[in-house]
């Protein structure tokens, strides 16, 4: 195992990244690559990720797979790594500009949002009476946060104004935005707060499935769980299970395992003969795909059922 590779995730606490790590570890073992894994302590922990990139250089790794905590701030460190001859692949979150890395294996987060937005709109039919609760990540408004948020709103048919800003819309159908920190506790509190503003909320966008689970609890506590459609993004197994159980109406599934194992393969190939991975045609990244998961499919939007999704969840 002369080939070393690094996986640097945003945090070690988000199941999405934990999954990614599992995928990379399994693939690396299979291919005989020595994998080191790193993660920031919290979302936005730029300095730990920079230190991790540097340690990979110091360790003489051949390539780095990274989900940048800040798509701009990590550019210099990554550039340094590439100058030192390492292959750098961005996973999940693209750099700004994307060419900062050799390649990007990602889901289109905006598209992921758009899909659930379209689904929710189609499900409602007449969206003029919609009352939308937006459950976002946190006060820092990082890229996943605004991409998913604005993707959803676009898909739903709301004028999103600045595509990089959350909460600048003036559509009266939006009840409000609140932050969840991407966990159940935050999801519940945020949902309660928005219900306070307008108890008639009937569409709930959530940044991820744990937040969706929390939102559902809040609705259930006041007996409104059947009034609102909850949509989310991620496609984690518990999330898909929640689609199956009717907690979440629809979720956009991503494939962290796939991203990671593709990434490992790319590094192996690069180490063997120097080939670099190519982007998906027409995109500035290699699309690992998004699938809409719902048990109530609507016409015109391709989707898979939760049954199917459970077999592939976070594959």
């Amino acid at each position: 195992a002369d080939v070393g590779a690094c996986l640097i995730t945003k945090t070690d606490t988000n199941p999405f990244f934990v999954k990614m790590k599992e995928g990379a570890t399994a693939k690396a073992k299979e291919m005989g690559i020595q994998l080191s894994t790193f993660a920031g302590k919290i979302d936005g922990d730029v300095e730990t990720q920079i230190a991790a990139v540097e340690s990979c250089i110091a360790a003489g790794a051949k390539g780095i797979l990274i989900t940048p905590s800040d798509s701009r701030a990590l550019a210099p460190a990554v550039t340094q790594a590439r100058e030192n001859g390492l292959l750098v692949i961005a996973l999940d979150t693209p750099f700004e500009p994307p060419e900062t890395a050799d390649a990007t294996f990602a889901t289109d987060n905006f598209l992921a949002g758009e899909l659930i937005g379209q689904w929710a709109a189609a499900k409602m039919g007449d969206t003029s009476g919609a009352k939308i609760a937006m459950l976002d990540l946190n006060a820092s408004e990082i890229s996943v946060d605004y991409l998913r948020n604005n993707g959803f709103l676009q898909g739903f048919g709301v004028d999103i104004k600045d595509p990089k800003d959350i909460g600048d819309e003036d559509d009266p159908r939006i009840v409000g935005n609140d932050v969840t920190n991407g966990n159940e506790e935050g999801g519940r509190t945020a949902m309660e707060n928005l219900l306070q503003k307008d108890p008639g909320v009937n569409v709930v966008y959530t940044i991820n499935e744990p937040a969706a689970a929390g939102a559902y609890e809040a609705l259930k506590a006041v007996g409104l769980e059947n009034q609102a459609l909850i949509v989310s993004v991620d496609g984690g197994c518990p999330g898909v299970q929640n689609v199956k159980d009717g907690v979440i109406g629809a979720t956009s599934m991503q494939f962290p395992l796939l991203m990671a194992s593709k990434g490992i393969e790319a590094i192996a190939a690069f180490a063997a003969d120097g080939t670099k991975p190519a982007n998906t045609e027409g995109l500035d990244f290699f699309n690992t795909g998004v699938e809409l998961v719902t048990d109530e499919p609507v016409e015109g939007i391709p989707s898979i059922t939760s049954e199917e999704a459970l077999k592939r969840c976070w594959g």
Binding site: N193, Q196, K197, V222
Partner: protein, 357 residues
């Protein structure tokens, strides 16, 4: 051994005639503000109560009826309940002149342990909870031993154990939440404190009642038992307490263990509150519990303040957050406002304590 009654030194004969006054006391009549200061000085627990009432009134005016509904007021209670229980544990530590950065970490770790045992390993829920209670107490014991035996400052001890408990939590949970539905199916008892009494618009969860009950019990223990007097004495001056015949190390250990135990009760309550068991929740809970305690007027130097202050402190923070949100204030400015709340609440408290002139 027999000796006639002593007369003392020559210059002391006239002492019997001396008068008994020591220093003169005067009542000054001062302006209204000073009068208020004096009244509050005599009843320091009133301060957070007044701040609470004033903030409820102010937000009632700004945010209107939405804020003032029975539903919203009981909702604030619910939202505050977990941080409130943690603040009760935190108060115990702060009364002994310590500080505990690990309360929320202990709570989350114990909820993960109870959940893993009851939901995944199929243990009966009461046993799983019992294990969590014991675990919380042991975690508190670990903090307590480091503070009393290794003599580390509490800040450093709990800064260290915070990382340790946090790492264990991620390891045990694999960063995965346990779903609400799985809990319902396997161990509904874990969600007991999420149930509620509803009447009118009000919805009082058992968790809110638990919080109040915990404060009530701790208040009784602190004010009406010998143990409580010892806790205050140790926080006030540890060395003096030791010399006066208190087993200070034992008292401190009991306080840390009790705090750990209360955190594990909070763990149970948090499952009811959140619905699922989420290893990533309450990351900021340590600092939030400290905020509640200081806003409630308990001195960080130990030995002074009523534990009920922490309850009002938690409620004040809850009222602020709810009121700001209902007034459509951006999250960003909510963070900003909480910063000022901390500073202003403690500044008022300092002003009350400094009665002079």
């Amino acid at each position: 051994m027999t000796q006639s009654a002593p007369k003392g030194q020559s210059f002391e004969h006239d002492l019997e005639k001396s008068d008994k006054r020591v220093a003169s006391f005067e009542a000054h009549s001062k302006g209204g503000l000073h009068r208020l200061q004096h009244i509050l000085h005599g009843n320091p627990t009133l301060v957070p109560v007044i701040v609470l009432l004033v903030s409820v009134a102010v937000f009632g005016l700004i945010a209107g009826g939405k804020f003032f509904s029975a539903f919203n007021l009981t909702l604030i209670m619910q939202q505050v309940s977990i941080i409130g229980i943690l603040a009760a544990a935190q108060s115990l530590i702060i009364l002994t002149a310590g500080i505990d950065l690990s309360v929320a970490a202990i709570m989350v770790l114990m909820s993960v342990i109870a959940g893993n045992l009851a939901v995944y390993s199929g243990w009966p829920a009461p046993i799983a909870l019992l294990v969590a209670f014991v675990g919380g107490t042991v975690a508190g014991l670990m903090n307590g031993l480091l503070v009393t035996k290794v003599k580390l400052p509490p800040f450093i001890t709990t800064l260290g154990t915070w990382s340790i408990f946090y790492a264990l939590n991620l390891w045990l949970s694999g960063a995965q939440s346990i779903r609400s539905q799985d809990i319902d199916a396997n161990a509904p008892l874990l969600k007991f404190f999420g149930e509620a009494l509803s009447f009118g618009g009000a919805r009082i969860t058992y968790g809110s009642i638990l919080m109040i009950a915990i404060f009530g019990v701790l208040w009784y223990m602190l004010n009406h038992t010998a143990w409580g007097r010892h806790v205050y004495a140790v926080g006030d001056d540890k060395e003096a307490a030791e010399l006066a015949g208190i087993r200070t190390d034992r008292t401190l250990l009991s306080v840390y263990m009790l705090a750990g135990f209360v955190c594990s009760i909070a763990a149970w309550a948090s499952i009811g509150r959140v619905g699922s068991i989420s290893p990533q929740s309450f990351y900021e809970g340590n600092l939030q519990s400290i905020t509640a305690v200081v806003v409630g007027g308990i001195s960080l130097f130990g030995g002074r303040g009523s534990i009920l202050g922490a309850l009002f402190g938690a409620l004040i923070v809850g009222v602020f957050q709810s009121g700001l949100r209902l007034s459509n204030v951006d999250v960003l400015w909510q963070v900003f406002a909480i910063g000022w709340l901390i500073i202003i609440a403690v500044a008022i408290d300092q002003w009350i304590r400094k009665v002079s002139a």
